[in-house]
Symmetry: C2
Subunit: 111 residues, 2 copies
DNA sequence: TGACTATTTGGCCAAATAGCCAATATTGGT
DNA sequence: ACCAATATTGGCTATTTGGCCAAATAGTCA
C-alpha cells in the first residue's frame, strides 16, 4: 500500500473513528432530530460539559457537524445527514445476525 | 442517558470503531471485491501478518466480516456489504464535509 | 510421526483516547 | 467596567490501541 493510498484511507477512517464512540454516536443521533446547543447535549448525556465539548470538536473536525454561535451559546447541527442512513445497517451488524438481509440476494430473490 | 441506552450506543459504536482505522478500512474495501485470505491482505497492506490478523479479528468481532477456514488458510469475506454503500458518503464528508458532495461526484473521487 | 505452511495469540512498549477538574475565552446584561 | 452564563482549552491520569517480535495453534503432506 503506497503512501498516498494509506493517507487517503486514514483520512476517511477518521470519520468512522469519530462515530466510534457511544456518546458521539448518541449525539449525532440527537443532532439528526435538529440542532442542539452544548448544554442541551450535556443534559442528555450527563457527562461533564468539557467532555461534551471535546466530543463535539472531534465530530466537527471529522466534518460531521457544524457549529453556529448565537449569543453566548453554540448550536451544533448535522452537516452530513447521510450518516443517519447507515445507522440502520450498522445497528443490524451490531445486533448480530440481522445483516443477512443485506447479503447477496438468495436464489430467486430480486436484487 | 440511562444505562441501557448507553450500552446500546456503545455496542453500535463498536462497528464504527472497527472501521475507524485506515488499514481496516482498506481491508474492508478489498474484501468488498471478493474474499481474501490473510496473506493476500498482508501482501496488499504490507504490515506484519500478526498485525493483519489482529485487525481482522477486530472486524470479525464487530460483525463486519466472517472467516472461513479452508485447508490451512482462512478466507475472510464481508458479512455486511451495506457498509460499502456509505463509504461514498463518508468519503464526501472527509473530502470536504459539504452535503453537496453527496449529490454530485467530488473531483478526483475515482474508486 | 515430523517438516512445512498459514494463522492466531501473548508480551511488550509507544502513542492515542476519554474523562474530570481548573483555567480561560466569549458573549450578554446591568 | 463588572458579573453571570456558555463554551473551549490545558493539565493530569487511567485506559485502550497499534505494531512488531516471538511463541503457540491448526492444518497438509510425506
Amino acid at each position: 500500500m503506497d503512501t498516498a493510498t494509506r493517507d487517503r484511507f486514514h483520512r476517511h477512517a477518521r470519520v468512522f473513528k469519530a462515530l466510534g464512540h457511544g456518546t458521539r454516536l448518541f449525539m449525532v443521533r440527537e443532532l439528526g432530530r435538529g440542532e442542539r446547543c452544548v448544554q442541551d447535549l450535556q443534559q442528555l448525556v450527563g457527562s461533564d460539559i468539557s467532555t461534551i465539548s471535546k466530543h463535539l470538536s472531534v465530530l466537527r473536525e471529522a466534518g460531521l457537524v457544524r457549529d453556529d454561535r448565537r449569543g453566548n451559546q453554540v448550536f451544533y447541527s448535522l452537516s452530513a445527514p447521510c450518516v443517519l442512513e447507515f445507522m440502520t445497517c450498522v445497528e443490524g451488524v451490531a445486533d448480530g445476525g440481522a445483516p443477512q438481509a443485506l447479503l447477496e440476494a438468495p436464489p430467486g430473490a430480486g436484487s
